[in-house]
């Protein structure tokens, strides 16, 4: 928990600075927008956090977002499938991809980096293949289905909660309960910390690893559906491009160690929100959004360095106090 205080502080600081520089930052309209974007990226980030906790990596999720995001409108508007069947197909597709990754990693012992890197190429290529590189979208149809991403739930007068935030809330609560309150969550953390020890303690590490990749791809699929319902069009060449890096960055910022065995869902949510607030800040406060990546990179790096330094200073102080106590005694 301590690990997320630093990043939470950074998020609050960025929000305060933005609010003081821009009157519109705290307007209901803008807060709704930022919440919706954070929710969409938050869903992806929670998925990849599961994999990172096991000590793995999932580079394919941007391409899964692309594949699912293109497949849904393609099935509905080009193939004219009924909505429930199309949704079922994309859910099965994304879970199937996760299972495929998990089996390759556990049964054939191929490195997760390679498996998911090939996935990154494969799924975008497949999406480009069946759409023939054409932009797919819903046009003016499927308005009620699109409410899943564009809908709002009245919260208090003048402020509504964007629908994706509700999806995120459900996903985050389930993920947090799973990770912290069930034995399987403990297994997952143990597996990430020391896979051999986990195996010797009788944990079915292969099953847990497969589960992590299924969760990751499944949530990437959910993200893909919500992204395309929100944006209303997807171009297979660039849809979801680099989203895996945003998701991985959010997870790591939120306290997941790339070496595995550590991570908290709240931290991941804070990390995802920080990335989106930074992007929003750049458009609201400055008039040049071409330096966006530079600012995001610099702020995050500064935050992480400050976090590390304060932790070291605190540790030194504690050590000094212990030493003082010892000499006094």
């Amino acid at each position: 928990m301590k690990k997320i205080f630093g990043i939470l502080g950074l998020l609050i600081a960025v929000c305060l600075v933005t609010a003081s520089l821009s009157d519109s930052f705290l307007s209901a309209y803008n807060v709704e927008n930022v919440l919706r974007r954070s929710a969409l990226f938050g869903i992806l980030s929670i998925g990849v956090a599961f994999v990172i906790i096991t000590g793995g990596i999932d580079l394919s999720l941007g391409s899964v977002v692309c594949l699912v995001g293109c497949a849904l409108p393609w099935l509905l508007t080009v193939q004219h499938w009924p909505v429930p069947l199309a949704l079922l197909a994309v859910v099965a597709l994304s879970l199937g991809i996760g299972l495929f990754h998990g089996l390759l990693i556990t049964k054939l012992r191929i490195q997760p980096f390679i498996v998911t890197l090939c996935g990154l190429l494969l799924y975008r290529g497949i999406a480009r293949g069946f759409t023939a590189d054409q932009t797919v979208g819903f046009g003016n149809e499927f308005k009620s289905l699109r409410l899943l991403a564009t809908g709002k739930v009245p919260f208090f007068p003048g402020f509504d909660l964007p629908a994706p935030l509700l999806f995120l809330a459900v996903v985050a609560i389930l993920a947090a309960v799973f990770l912290n309150r069930t034995i399987y969550g403990r297994y997952l953390l143990a597996l990430g910390r020391n896979p051999q020890a986990a195996t010797y303690s009788g944990i079915s590490t292969q099953r847990m690893t497969i589960l992590a990749y299924v969760v990751s791809s499944g949530l990437a699929g959910l993200g893909g559906v919500l992204f395309v319902l929100d944006v209303n069009s997807a171009q297979p060449v660039d849809f979801g491009s680099f989203y895996e890096l945003y998701a991985i960055a959010a997870a790591v910022l939120g306290g997941c160690s790339l070496r595995g065995g550590e991570g908290s869902i709240v931290g991941v949510l804070v990390g995802a929100a920080l990335m989106q607030v930074l992007r929003n800040m750049i458009t609201l406060v400055t008039t040049r959004n071409n330096v966006e990546f530079a600012i995001i990179g610099a702020v995050i790096l500064l935050g992480v360095v400050a976090d590390e330094l304060t932790r070291r200073i605190a540790a030194k102080r504690r050590a000094a106090q212990v030493l003082q106590g010892a000499t006094a005694a």
Binding site: L103, L104, F130, G139, T150, A234, R279, T287, N290
Partner: protein, 345 residues
Amino acid sequence: MKSPRSIRFAALLGLLSLSLGGCNKPAAPSVAEGEGKLKKIAFVTNGVASFWTIASAGVKAAARDLKVDAQTLMPAEGISDQKRMIEDLLTRGIDGIAVSPIDPVNQTELINIAAKKAKVITHDSDAPQSERLLYIGMDNYKAGRMCGEMVREAMPNGGSVMIFIGRLEQDNSKRRRQGTIDAILGRPDNSDHFDEISAVLEGNGFKILGTLTDQFDRAKGKANAEDALAKYPDLGCMVGLFAYNPPLILEALAQSNKLGTVKLVAFDEDDATLDGIEKGTVVGTVVQDPYMYGYKSVEMLSALISGKPGVVPSEKFLDIPARKIRKENVVEFRSELKSRLSAAQ
């Protein structure tokens, strides 16, 4: 030794990879092979977009009419991908290439190398310093000015304007944006200057608040439109200069209940844009004629390869002018577009 289970699994993988491989059939050539030695022409775009699908219909139609082997190539990964495609075409012994250079100044050398081995022309975006034989396209500065004129018609008393565009690296997008700005501010024709992306520009009763780019990330493009609406609650007009920008702006306007209140001036002919014009939520759009870019590129290259340089205009520029599409001519324009696309298929 492998256990039977892992062998089964490996076999399953093999089957899966075979079935996936089967999805990737090579595209059929536009003219049947074996009809003697046909002139080989390539039409290289600057990316993948519905705009280029229309151009590719023109390429196909010209290939059929002129009996040449013409193909359209769309680089998906930017400038390095485009370079690779051109190099591979030269290796294959292509007779003529029409290319839309992504970065004209820095690709001059590549175009010159290609021009030594094949007939090379540019389309859509020019590389005037290079040894290309001809440029087919429109003047993006003039087309931008058409956009600016529509902004002024939509807001006769002036107001604030925000511009949205994919990226500003390429020559055509710079000129398109500059034309829009100059027409809104009532400046005289001067296509050679470039206003800073972050500058707030005022004149003629208008205030141009800035230009936002998205590097083709659609979620980002929509976020840009939303952020502009949040930042400027009294925004008067939004201008979307790449084909996918206006539909994203429409989404942002619909979600903030500002459809019709904030004016939207568009570029290119996305379906959602044309729907918006019919409904009155989009003021109008400026369209290029990609079909003719494709058709004329093949026609000119075919003539050049046959040794008929006389077809090339003396100024080395074949103008295919842009048009303004508004409520009164949108239905007619759509039916023309539809018939061209279906004729090519």
